[in-house]
């Protein structure tokens, strides 16, 4: 026996479609769905990606990105550092590193979370498994469905957070790429400032509907609307300036 029953996504299920815990909320808000990497993804709403991106750039918008792959790495600090560096990444407390379309998040000295685009999830899992193969005390665990995730973008994003979250998100305290595990909407959460005015945050899968309600309740007052993942590509890229360059290199390669 093994732990394959933890995996979700195209390779994990034979034709079965993976659904996020916010799908019903997104559908009720008018989302259009598409099958991507084994996931039913809310890629756009009625207005369409371009208009959604424009609106979010004026106020704020939130997107369900629960389909992002998540892998947990546990082991002695030096082993984690070695594995990360083999994957071209770095692991630092309080700061998320961007490499290979993934955020590398050190939560403790002995535990890290890698949050990646769904399409690279299987590759990354294999890569991590290989890198940790020799190390006795290192474990790699698929935790994609442990965490629902949302991206909140726009100039009002910080004000939206201020309505349900006590994290200090002022730029001086939480610069781009900052990693901030902490309470979000009274639930355990992990927040990454992906770029200027762009935040990715993770929370318990079972709290998906609840968190959506809280974000909607707080955000709609300030003019925020749900947006599809396609709109995100038209907005400041995850990873800020550096990551943008990396992504371009990957694409041109």
């Amino acid at each position: 026996m093994n732990l394959d029953f933890l995996s979700a996504g195209a390779a994990a299920a034979d034709g079965a479609v993976a659904h996020t815990p916010m799908e019903a909320k997104a559908r009720a808000a008018g989302a259009r769905f598409e099958l991507r990497d084994g996931w039913n993804v809310a890629h756009a709403y009625a207005a369409g990606a371009e208009e959604e991106a424009r609106a979010a750039a004026r106020t704020a918008g939130w997107a369900d990105v629960s389909h992002l792959g998540k892998l947990e790495l546990q082991g002695p600090p030096e082993e984690l550092d070695r594995i990360a560096s083999e994957c071209g990444a770095e692991l630092r407390l309080g700061e998320a590193g961007r490499a290979g379309d993934a955020w590398w998040c050190r939560l403790t000295t002995t535990r890290a979370l890698v949050v990646c685009e769904a399409r690279v999830s299987d590759t990354l899992r294999t890569q991590l498994a290989q890198a940790s193969a020799g190390a006795e005390r290192v474990t790699v665990t698929e935790v994609t469905t442990n965490f629902a995730a949302m991206t909140l973008v726009g100039p009002q994003a910080r004000e939206v957070f201020a309505r349900f979250c006590a994290l200090d998100l002022r730029p001086g305290v939480t610069p781009v790429r900052a990693l901030r595990p902490g309470s979000i909407a009274r639930q355990p959460g992990i927040l990454i400032r992906e770029a200027e005015d762009r935040y990715l945050f993770l929370f318990g899968w079972a709290t998906g509907e609840y968190v959506w309600s809280v974000v909607a309740d707080a955000g709609e007052h300030l003019g925020a609307r749900p947006i599809g993942v396609d709109a995100l590509t038209a907005l400041p890229k995850a990873g800020g300036v550096g990551a943008e360059r990396e992504t371009e290199e990957t694409l041109s390669a």
Binding site: L6, A13, V17, A18, V143, T145, A166, W205, A206, H221
Partner: protein
Amino acid sequence: MSRLGTQPGERITRTRKISFTFDGRKVEAYEGDTIASALYAAGRRTFSRSFKYHRRRGLMCVAGQCPNCICAVDGAPGARACTEPAREGIQVTHVNAMPSLEFDAMRVTDIAGGPFTPPGFYYKTFIRPRRLWPLYEKVLRNVAGLGKLRHSQPEREWRTEYRRRHADVLVTGGGIAGLQAALAAARLGADVVVADEGPEPGGQQLVQTTPQRVRELAELVREAGVEILTGASSLGYFDGMVPVWQGDTLHQVRARHHVFATGTIEQPLVFAGNDLPGVMLSGGARRLAALYAVSPGRRAVVATTSDRGLDAAAVLRDAGVEIAAVADLRPEVGELGRQLRAAGVPVFPGHTVIAAKGSKTVQSAIIAPVGGGDEHAFDCDLVVVSGGAIPASSLLLQAGAESAYDPARGHFALGALPEGVSAAGEVTGTGSDDAVAASGELAGLGAAHALGLGTDESRARAEELARRLAEPEDAGVVVAPPVSGEGRGKCFACFCEDVTSKDVHLSIEEGYDSIELSKRYTTVTMGPCQGRMCQLPSVRLMAQETGQSLQAVGTTTARPPWVSVPMGILGGRPMEPAKRSAIHNRHRELGATIKWAGDWRRAYDYGDPAAEALAVNQAAGLIDVSTLGKLIVRGPDAGDFLDRLYPNRFSNLKPGRIRYGVISSDAGRIVDDGTICRIDDETFYVTTTSSGAGAVEEWFSWWLADWGQRVSLTDVTQGLGAVNLAGPKAREIMSAVCDIDCSNEAFAYLDGKQARIAGVQCLILRIGFVGEVGYEIHFPSAYGEHIWDALMEAGRPHGLKPFGLEPQRILRLQKMHILVGQDTDSESTPFAAAMPWIVKLDKEQDFIGKWALEHYSHQAPAAELVGFTMANGDVPTEGAVVVDEAGTPAGQVTSSRHSPVLGRTIGLAWVPEALAHDGAKITISDEGRTLSAEIQTKPFYDPDGEVLRS
């Protein structure tokens, strides 16, 4: 609307007229008016009726500090008319008067009831006969109080917008000092927030003759990037966090440094009739004239202890108020007094006001020398009083500042401040405009410097300011007698709760001779003004009466909230975290009764719990058990780790096998239970109870932090969904949906297998919580509905039915499977809970609870958990008492249900050891009923587990 000519700082826009209603009558107002200024301009003088005596009360402070103008706006009580903006169309009503503000029947308590309503009168008067108390209470509640809360409110109304604001510096108070502090700190690079109670920043300066200066300063502050919150009250100080209430938003401001520039509170004088409408604080009279161009009266008597009152006399005279006389408590006539005299105003040094007289409003006032002597009476419709000013230091005191009585100023002055907190402006005792501004700038610089900001220049500037402020100022204050004119009428020390000077005397006579005791007895300082008007007067009365110094009497403890605040404001955004399984929407579609189970929303039943339970026993049922706690324990030491956490053994469990485990504390008490499946040599899959999931993870990681074994823990509770398929038909259904052999030989009881169901990789545990052949299927949450649908579809030909939590409780009770927390409590050991077999005391290594369990293994438990049945159909309440022959409580029922498959009542109960055997008869006392039951120690259903293993 009678108004004065245009005032330089007036807040009203005369070109914009609005109207609202007061007690149903239309009131004209200008935009910028408050409810009170418009009503006063329209001639209204009575604004409320007092708390106990229902006396008329009029405007006094015009700053939201006293209780006199409390009213209800659109049905919501607790608004202060003097600060609440007049808005088009609002409906304002009076509070605490029956039938009307002008004729209040309860006035009788003042006229006739005086001697019968001393402090604590309701404890003394309404105690006999005791059975009438509910009636008394009803009557008292009707006649006292400050308005009625509505029983319901529209959904969004009153719902607070909660806003977290992090800042480097929070400045509370936007007067000159606060603005200077904000400007100084912001210019050095600090992120500053200013909270000011007024509709615009500026504080006292706005009522001076040159309000433009402070408005320009406010503009500079804004330009420096400071966020200025207006109409915003700081409610309290909580370890560096200050909730600031602004309209329907509660800003929770967490600042690294706090500057309090909260100014002073002008004090009333205590004399006979000091509460009559028309008796007004000097600041109140000035605000009416300067901000709203409303004349406070035609002819005034002014009584003061400092230049403050003389200033007011001069300003009001300029505004057209005739000043009949000025009683200055100070023995000498100073510069301002001479100027007034030169203008023809009679000034009486060494005099104070001893009585105000009138029926509905002030008609005359009597002044007299302080030590007694010739009295002078003046006809007037306004008595302007100024009893000095006390620092508004409550927030500072809450933050840990010290204070001590300052005889030179006649009030409690600030002492040492805690780290991270500064005071600026008049609250520190400075008086002149220059000193106030300098102390503000100094506080701002100090705050910035404390945060590591600043330059050599700024530090030099701070030193210079500190030197300048070190030179003492002449306070120019004399202290008024605690009370004047006693015996000529009621002298109020506390306007909120109608406490007179006599009441304070009486409470001391009755033994309440400390300020904190007197506060609780007379309720002085406990009303809406929170001591602003009554703290110092009551302390002085107590000092006089007890012969103690004011320092020795001290003050009552400063507590939040500093301003009265609607409860709804503190409620905040309704964030009630709810967990939902990935199958939740299917339960909704099936019409399930959804209830809270811990922090989860769960399907309690689908309409007929008995039928659902029966379906499991007779065909097959499917229940969503995604709420189970799930932990992956991995590493070379995983088996050893579990051996040390559980009383039984797991290191010898074979991969692919399952074992039940009970977690006990070091005291040997049951903490949680669940099943553990070994995946491979180094990997265990641990399930816990739904409610215990978080606690068990914390428990495991806590011991791991201590022991440091080679183990990694991953909580996958939310990552995996789980359903339990159980019943005589379960195997057939499983065989139809999964890709492995489900025969009893290939997939036996307590086997764990990996298999695909409808394409999805699942972990399948063959366990039997509900007592039938059962498969607990675990899968990634993303496939919850997919798996559910596949199983329901496959089960349809076999009569598969969904079942909820309630039928599961019936089914598990049939098997006497305990629910930790329901059938056990903090004292239950595995021995007493009839699970001695789970404790392996022969285990070589130490485990949590071992020592205590060893001890209990030698002792017969006083009570044991056993089953019971009832033949006659009664179902005792859970929690009902098991009694012995004498009727003495000897145990209790923890679970009881009617079992549809067995046709009788079954249950679990703690009973004395002597009764814990098959066939024993017990008596249950249940809310007046006496019931008989028979003990059974083996499971009610399938006692030997043949069904389970088949």
